[in-house]
């Protein structure tokens, strides 16, 4: 019978194609949701088996053997992706009007699952390209410029990876990970691959995975691509697809770790190549968070924030210590759930109000209470407030960064998390609180499937927040050693402890005491927004009582020196130059008169003559 791996891998694609072909309103959504649910169901079913030994499966396609393996690590990444994928499917049942969206969303789902499961470079590259193409088509529908920018950057990344694969293939003669790791491990000593070539291969892989993970110089596609597509798909786009980039960095360690160490040695007793990745991650965190704080559009804010959070993961992997990997892997999960939740909340807001700019939103807390509650959970988790999953993973990364003696990188995280707190509160203020614009009076709560999707992602936030041990014990299995100790509720690392349950209990006690003081006081009465202190002046509904536009103007003024430079404008100029070069090349060469063509022939003859004789 067909191997489960194949079912996990191709169920979404087949469901997508069927949904696209049938294109009947009710059935299409049902198929889509089933297609997205199958991988998660099978992964849960396979959990007990993969704990002992991984499941292998390989198929041969046009002379290449594509090997797939479900081991502890790929199970972890695949489970995170399918959880967010299922939430996306529920969300898309409401927000997507076209069967076109279903086809390409589920195709990118298959792509990302394939990337996590594949054990050889051809399969990896094939599914990586498929994932990029499918997510590109989702964006192409709505905005050509952003989608082309996204596609060009990720195709440059993919082709850089192809050249690196080719060079490795030329040197090691093998394409599957196991033998490449073996050959590179032995080669580290003999050094048949020179350090220059290792540097090139490392640089190429860095660009490839950096583009997908959105590392700073290559992050310009993220805001456009994330905001110009169906918002519930973006939950998957930024929740799971960016993890492929992070997974790539992990792959770099597994395959070439020892070779890179042999080639580049250490710098201040950190692995040099890891040091580079850590610094890329740190810069990404700071730059993306600063940009996120200054955004005016809700989607752009979350796009930059997503780039920043993936920067955390890169930073954690860059530390090189096992604790760093544990922190990074935990943050993969927590980022997927809280960022996915954020995007679903955005989808609900845009669906119900049709607005995307902060300046036309406000006071939705009463109108959409459930979405607001989900948004609050996501806010607490992203800002890293203790009882939530976001804090547990961020805490691990802090531990790892400081105990890995990388102080400036740890400083960058402090700044990054403060900025995260700032833009998340900005989102809360601009959308949920303050005075409600008159045209948002009749806003209703989001439809049921979207609420299910949100609940699907909010519960893990709470569960893994109060009991982070669940995740860390599994991560210990991935990393093999007892990296993070303690039971379900308490994380114990060599240098620090964090008892999530006790912190939650303390918070509850505190709230109870404060509640008592609150209840004791005089009975409160509700007053309208207009009954507010404007230094004595009477206020009516038409007054604009909230600051929704450029909320952080002072910060923009303080950073005014840095904001002059932008990678985005730089890439636009480069693209323009390339197109003008193309035009000048065409006019220069194919200029249309036969005399010059025959001169070309004469020149080639001359070269042939010279070439032959010399």
């Amino acid at each position: 019978m067909i191997n489960e791996l194949m079912i996990i891998l191709f169920a979404p694609l087949i469901a997508g194609v069927v949904a696209w072909a049938l294109d009947i309103k009710g059935i299409r959504e049902a198929i889509g949701i089933i297609g997205a649910a199958i991988p998660l169901a099978y992964l849960v079913k396979l959990y007990p088996t993969i704990i002992e030994n991984p499941i292998d499966y390989s198929i041969t396609v046009s002379g290449f053997t594509l090997q797939f393996q479900l081991n502890t690590m790929s199970w972890y990444f695949a489970a995170v992706a399918s959880l967010v994928g299922l939430a996306m499917a529920f969300g898309m049942a409401v927000t997507s009007r076209e069967s076109y969206d279903w086809l390409f969303a589920l195709m990118s789902f298959t792509g990302v699952l394939g990337v996590f499961l594949s054990q050889d470079f051809v399969g990896f590259f094939l599914l990586w390209e498929l994932m990029t193409f499918a997510s590109f088509m989702m964006v192409l529908r709505r905005n050509r410029h952003e989608s082309l920018k996204y596609f060009v950057l990720s195709v440059i990344g993919a082709y850089a990876m192809l050249i690196a694969i080719g060079m490795l293939y030329a040197k090691t003669g093998a394409l599957d990970f196991a033998s490449i790791r073996q050959v590179l491990y032995m080669d580290a000593a003999m050094g048949t691959i020179t350090t220059r070539e290792t540097a090139i291969i490392f640089g190429l892989f860095l660009t490839a995975f950096g583009v997908k993970a959105g590392a700073v110089p290559l992050h310009v596609w993220a805001p456009g691509a994330y905001s110009e597509t169906d918002q519930s798909y973006t939950a998957f786009f930024s929740g799971a697809l960016s993890k492929a980039g992070a997974y790539g960095f992990l792959l770099l360690y597994i395959l070439m770790g020892y070779k890179l160490y042999a080639a580049f040695g250490t710098f201040h007793n950190h692995l040099t190549f890891a040091y580079i990745i850590a610094w890329i991650g740190a810069i990404t965190v700071v730059v993306a968070s600063f940009l996120a704080v200054l955004q005016e559009d809700i989607r752009k804010l979350f796009a930059y924030s997503s780039v920043g959070q993936v920067g955390y993961i890169l930073l954690a992997f860059g530390l090189g210590s096992t604790l760093g990997f544990a922190g990074g892997l935990f943050h993969v999960l927590s980022h997927a759930i809280f960022k996915g939740l954020f995007w679903l909340v955005t989808a609900a807001i845009i669906l119900q109000t049709g607005k995307t700019q902060f300046k036309d939103m406000g006071g939705l807390a009463e109108k959409m209470p459930f979405t607001f509650a989900m948004g609050l959970i996501a806010v607490l988790s992203l800002a890293g407030i203790p009882p939530m999953a976001g804090f547990a993973s961020k805490w691990l990364i802090y531990e790892a960064a400081i105990s890995a003696h990388m102080p400036l990188v740890a400083g960058a995280i402090f700044l990054g998390s403060a900025l995260a707190f700032a833009y998340v509160v900005r989102f809360l203020y601009a959308v949920w609180f303050g005075q409600r614009p008159s045209d948002l009076e009749d806003v209703k709560e989001a439809p049921l499937p979207l609420l299910i999707a949100m609940a699907l992602l909010a519960i893990p936030n709470l569960v893994f927040g109060v009991a982070p041990g669940l995740v860390t014990q599994y991560i210990n299995k991935i990393l093999g050693g007892e990296v993070v100790g303690g039971d379900y509720y308490k994380l114990v690392t060599p240098t620090g402890t964090y008892n999530a349950l006790l912190v939650t209990i303390a918070l509850v006690i505190g709230l109870a005491i404060a509640g008592l003081v609150y209840i004791y006081g005089a009975k409160t009465r509700k007053i309208p927004v207009t009954n507010t202190y404007q230094s004595g002046n009477p206020v009516t509904e038409e007054f604009n009582l909230s600051i929704r536009r450029n909320f952080y103007k002072p910060l923009a003024e303080a950073l005014e020196f840095w904001l002059k430079y932008s990678w985005d404008r730089f890439y636009e100029r480069v693209a323009g130059m390339a197109e003008d070069f193309a035009d000048s090349l065409r006019q220069a060469f194919y200029n249309g008169n036969v005399q010059s063509y025959s001169w070309y022939l004469a020149i080639v003859l001359l070269i042939l003559a010279l070439w032959g004789v010399l």
Partner: protein, 495 residues
């Protein structure tokens, strides 16, 4: 039905070409259906030959007038020739069906005759085993191609064919000088014997001879500096003819180049010629892709893209390794299908909407959904997206290039294919997501053909094993010169 019936492949188009004036008496319609009939017959024979060669595994040798080579001329239909003759026949059949609707200019009998002669020339070039016979068939193809380019009787078509004539003429004359040199020093015209004796030739003569032949064929095979005629010729030629140009006329030239290149392996300057060809091929890809970036006419854009893909095939052949040649052949097959699909679809749009400018393509998804779908599948395949056929061959070529150590060539090709992705996806966006229009009825025949080709693209993409095995056998046929010599029954006469 023994192997000798394979000679019908040459005889049938030749005879039927000269019957065309008689059929003209029965009316224009009859001529078109006659053309379809002949190409259908040719496809049948080609399919039988393909099946025969691939089951028995032995090439079919046809000796003209039962004279044994090297005295007589022999047709050597090996794995590659069988495969490609079938492709030539199938594409000609499809284009013949398309011409019924696409060709409205009056001297239809002349069109039919030239059509059959082009098909004859291409088949002959691929099947022949004699170098001079190769030149003769190349001349037939070239001259009928010149005439067909000017068939539309517009100023632009005349200018394009003049360019083609001048450059083609120079090229083929140098090719003839090359053959003369080789014939002078070796005394034989049969390719197998040339391969046998090539080692013993005087170094400089062999070097100059090889260089001239390669130069002559490079013009026909559209390598970088020599392909200036190609974009205008593609654009000016009638739509079915452009598809034939890109699908097999150029490929016949490329095959001839590869065949002679690998025959003359023993020549001392072989490696330097290969290096030159690699540079020229990479530049072809680079210049053609960049030239296509800001094209307003979609047909010219796809012409540039076709030149670039052919440059890629040239690069694969010039690598000089077995995996390179296999990848090149596989890419030839895929490229033939994809370009036939694209030119057919664009021609169909040009015929029904009167022009191939970009504006005509706005909102095509709403007006001609099936053609738009065909163009989309073709474009996505041409870019090299997985689950489509060109991806596998492009991956093979790049791995072979990197394996051969030319990482710079691979980098340039990849940059060029990024550019290709940009202009193809711009086209897809204008077709599906911009512009309005109500649905127009599309011809049944053309729609069926489009669906057939699109299905072929996706089937090879999803399950490429069978196509890859054929390509491997065909590649082995070219690369493995020792087998070639062994198969040809040479008499023991001559130097």
């Amino acid at each position: 039905m023994n192997g000798q019936y394979a000679s019908l492949l040459i005889a049938l188009p030749l005879i039927s070409a000269f019957f065309v004036p008689l059929i003209k008496g029965l009316g224009k319609k009859a001529v078109k259906y006659y053309l379809v009939l002949i190409t259908a017959l040719q496809t049948g024979i080609a399919a039988w030959v393909f099946q025969e060669v691939y089951t028995t595994g032995k090439p079919i040798i046809v000796m003209a007038g039962a004279w044994r080579p090297p005295v007589g001329i022999n047709l050597y239909i090996g794995h590659f020739a069988a495969l490609f003759v079938l492709i030539v026949a199938v594409v000609s059949f499809l284009m013949a069906v398309f011409s019924i609707r696409a060709i409205s200019v009056d001297p239809i009998d002349k069109y039919a005759m030239l059509f059959l002669l082009v098909m004859l020339g291409a088949t002959g070039m691929i099947a022949t085993g004699d170098i001079f016979n190769l030149f003769v068939f190349m001349e037939i193809t070239a001259i009928s191609a010149y005439a067909l380019t000017a068939y539309n009787k517009t100023g632009e078509a005349a200018e394009a064919s003049i360019k083609y004539i001048i450059l083609g003429g120079i090229g083929s004359s140098f090719f003839l000088i090359g053959i003369a040199l080789i014939y002078g020093s070796l005394g034989t015209l049969n390719m197998a014997q040339i391969a046998q004796l090539a080692g013993g030739m005087d170094a400089t003569v062999a070097q100059v001879g090889l260089a001239l032949i390669v130069f002559g064929l490079a013009v026909e095979a559209e390598l970088f500096p020599l392909n200036a005629w190609a974009p205008d010729a593609y654009q000016a030629a009638p739509h079915p003819i452009t598809a034939m140009f890109s699908a097999f006329v150029v490929k016949a030239g490329l095959y001839a180049l590869a065949r002679i290149l690998y025959l003359m392996q023993a020549v001392s300057s072989w490696h330097s010629v290969l290096k030159l060809l690699i540079i020229m091929a990479t530049l072809t890809v680079f210049v053609a892709e960049f030239a296509a970036l800001r094209q307003k006419n979609v047909k010219r854009m796809i012409a540039y893209s076709s030149i670039a893909q052919i440059g890629l095939i040239g690069l694969a052949f010039a690598l000089g390794t077995q995996s390179g040649v296999d990848a090149g052949v596989f890419h030839m097959v895929n490229h033939a299908i994809v370009k036939a699909l694209l030119f057919l679809a664009v021609g169909h749009v040009a015929v029904s909407l009167g022009g191939a400018e970009m504006e005509k393509f706005e909102g095509l998804g709403k007006r001609m959904p099936l053609t738009a779908f065909a163009i989309t599948v073709g474009a996505i395949a041409a870019v090299g997206i997985p689950l489509f056929n060109v991806f596998w061959s492009k991956l093979r070529i790049l791995l072979a290039t990197l394996g051969a150590g030319y990482s710079w060539a691979a980098a340039v090709v990849l940059i060029a294919s990024v550019v290709e992705a940009v202009y193809y996806f711009r086209l897809i966006h204008t077709m599906w997501f911009a512009g309005e229009g109500e649905r127009i009825s599309e011809g049944l025949a053309v729609s069926l053909m489009l669906l057939f080709l699109a299905a072929l693209v996706i089937v090879i993409g999803v399950y490429p094993d069978y196509a890859w095995s054929i390509a491997q056998k065909a590649g082995n046929d070219i690369f493995n010169v020792a087998d070639y010599i062994k198969n040809v029954p040479l008499m023991g006469v001559g130097a």
